[in-house]
Symmetry: C2
Subunit: 235 residues, 2 copies
DNA sequence: CGACAGGTTGACCGTTATCAAAGATCGTGG
DNA sequence: CCACGATCTTTGATAACGGTCAACCTGTCG
C-alpha cells in the first residue's frame, strides 16, 4: 500500500511540477530544464505511519517531500530510537546511498499522509553532470546539514540535558515573529528522543524552567518564553 | 608565522602536484585538467600546535592535507572542547563555508608540522561548474561524513560511555589485518574528548575491559582485543 | 636530570535513567 | 458527538552512571 494508487491520476503529472519548481535545489533552473527533471520524476504516496525506507534498504532514489511530514530516525546499536530530523515540503532525503553504493543507515517514516517526488539514482547522476549548478546547491545543503549534525553531536557530547533543552527551545523561537511563544514541532516523547533523553526528564526540566520563571507552559505544545536570558544562563 | 615561508621554494610547485594527484576527489581527472587545478592551488605550512582556522573565521578556501595531521574540533556552548575528526594526507576540510556564505563553526589545528594545499572558494566553484564529476566526488564524501556525524550523534544520544568506547575499539580493528591488535590513533585525552567523556573515565573503563578479559593493554596506545564478542556485548 | 603533559586511582556527589503508577490527551468507531 | 482505548505525559522513589577534584604516577623531551 505504499505507492500512490489512491491519489488521483494527476500525481504523476501535476505533483512533480508543483514540487520541483518549489525545491531550493532546482528552483534556479530554467523552465525547459525543470521539465527535463520532471520527466524523470515520479510521485509516491505514503499514509501516516508507513515506512518509506529502512536502515539496510538499498537506496536508489532521491526523495523530495511534496506534501506532508517525514521523520528520519536511527536505531542505535542497542535498539533505541533517535529522531534525527523531520522533513517538510521542499526538503529532500536520500543521502549517502545516492552517491555511494551502500544502503540506508537511517529510517524514514511518514508522520502524516505524505507525497514524495522520487528521482532515481541513475537519472539524478545524469542530471547533476549536466547541470552542475544543482550539485552546488546540494553541496551547500549537505554542508549545512553536516554542520548541524556535528553541532548536535557536540551538544550531546558536552552539554547536559538541561542545556540541550534550553538551546532547543531558543532555536524554536522564530526570529521573524517576536511573539516569544513557541509551538513544539513534535510530541514531548519525540523531543526526548531527539534530545537523547527520556520523556520523564523533559517533563521535569520544563517544570523546573517554569518554576524558575523562564517559561510558561500554555498548553501541551505551546510554551511562552518569559526570560530568554535566564534560559541562556542554563549551563 | 602561518604561511609557508619556511618551506623551500618548491612548495608552490611540487607540493600541489603530488597532493592533487593523490586526492580522491581529483585523481580521476586527466593530467591536463589536474594542471588546471594546480594552477589555482597554493601550499601553506603550519607548525605543530598552530591553528589553521577558528570558529568565526570567514571561510574562503578548501584545504587538502598534503603532509601531517590536522584535528578538527568544536567548542561547545559552555566552552568544552570536543574533537570531531582528524585529517590525514588526502583528506580535506573547508566544509559549509565553502558553499554558503558563512563562517567556520569548528576549529582546525595542526597536530604535527603540516602542509596543506589551498584552493580559494571562487576558484573551486569555477572548477566544480567546469568539472561536474568533482562535485559528485565531493558529494559522496560529504554524504559519507554526514552519515558518520549522524551515527556519532546517535551514539552520544543513546549509548553509554562504555558502549561508545567498545564500539570505538572495534572500529579501530583493521579488517585487513587479522592481528587483533590496535594502535589508538590519538592520545587517551583526545579520545576522551572525541567520545564525549573524560580521561579518568576512559582509564577506568579500559581497566574494566581488561579485568573482564576483553582486552589487554600492551602499552600506552597498543591494545590487544582478546574477546570481540565480549566487547560487543557491552551494551 | 628536571619539568611538564599525559595517565591513573580514589572518594564523592550531581545528574539523569529507570520503574511504576496515575492522569491527560488524542483518535477512532459506534 | 460521545465513549473508549491507546498513547502520551506527569509525578515519585531509587539507583547507577559518570563527572569532578585532588593526589600521585609515568614517560618523554629538552
Amino acid at each position: 500500500m505504499s505507492t500512490g494508487h489512491n491519489c488521483s491520476h494527476d500525481c504523476d503529472v501535476i505533483a512533480p511540477a508543483g514540487c520541483i519548481a518549489r525545491v531550493p535545489i532546482f528552483n534556479h533552473l530554467k523552465l525547459q530544464e525543470m521539465k527535463e527533471i520532471m520527466a524523470v520524476t515520479d510521485s509516491v504516496f505514503y499514509r501516516k505511519g508507513e515506512i518509506i525506507y529502512r536502515a539496510g534498504d538499498r537506496s536508489d532514489a532521491l526523495y523530495i517531500v511534496s506534501k506532508g511530514r517525514v521523520k528520519i530516525y536511527r536505531l542505535s546499536e542497542s535498539g533505541k530510537e533517535q529522531l534525527l530530523r523531520t522533513l517538510y515540503p521542499g526538503d529532500f532525503t536520500g543521502e549517502l546511498a545516492l552517491f555511494s553504493e551502500t544502503t540506508h543507515e537511517a529510517y524514514a517514516g511518514a508522520m502524516e499522509d505524505t507525497r514524495l517526488c522520487r528521482i532515481r539514482r541513475a537519472d539524478l547522476q545524469r542530471l547533476l553532470l549536466k547541470y552542475p549548478s544543482v550539485s552546488l546547491r546540494i553541496l551547500a545543503e549537505f554542508s549545512r546539514r553536516l554542520e548541524e549534525a556535528e553541532k548536535q553531536a557536540t551538544r550531546f557530547a558536552t552539554e547536559k540535558v538541561e542545556t540541550r533543552l534550553a538551546l532547543f527551545l531558543i532555536e524554536c523561537l522564530d526570529p521573524e515573529n517576536r511573539a516569544n511563544e513557541i509551538m513544539l514541532p513534535m510530541s514531548k516523547k519525540d523531543l526526548a528522543s531527539y534530545l537523547g533523553t527520556t520523556p520523564e526528564t523533559i517533563s521535569r526540566k520544563l517544570y523546573e524552567f517554569e518554576a524558575a520563571g523562564y517559561i510558561k507552559q500554555k498548553s501541551n505544545k505551546k510554551i511562552a518564553i518569559l526570560d530568554l536570558e535566564g534560559l541562556l544562563q542554563q549551563r
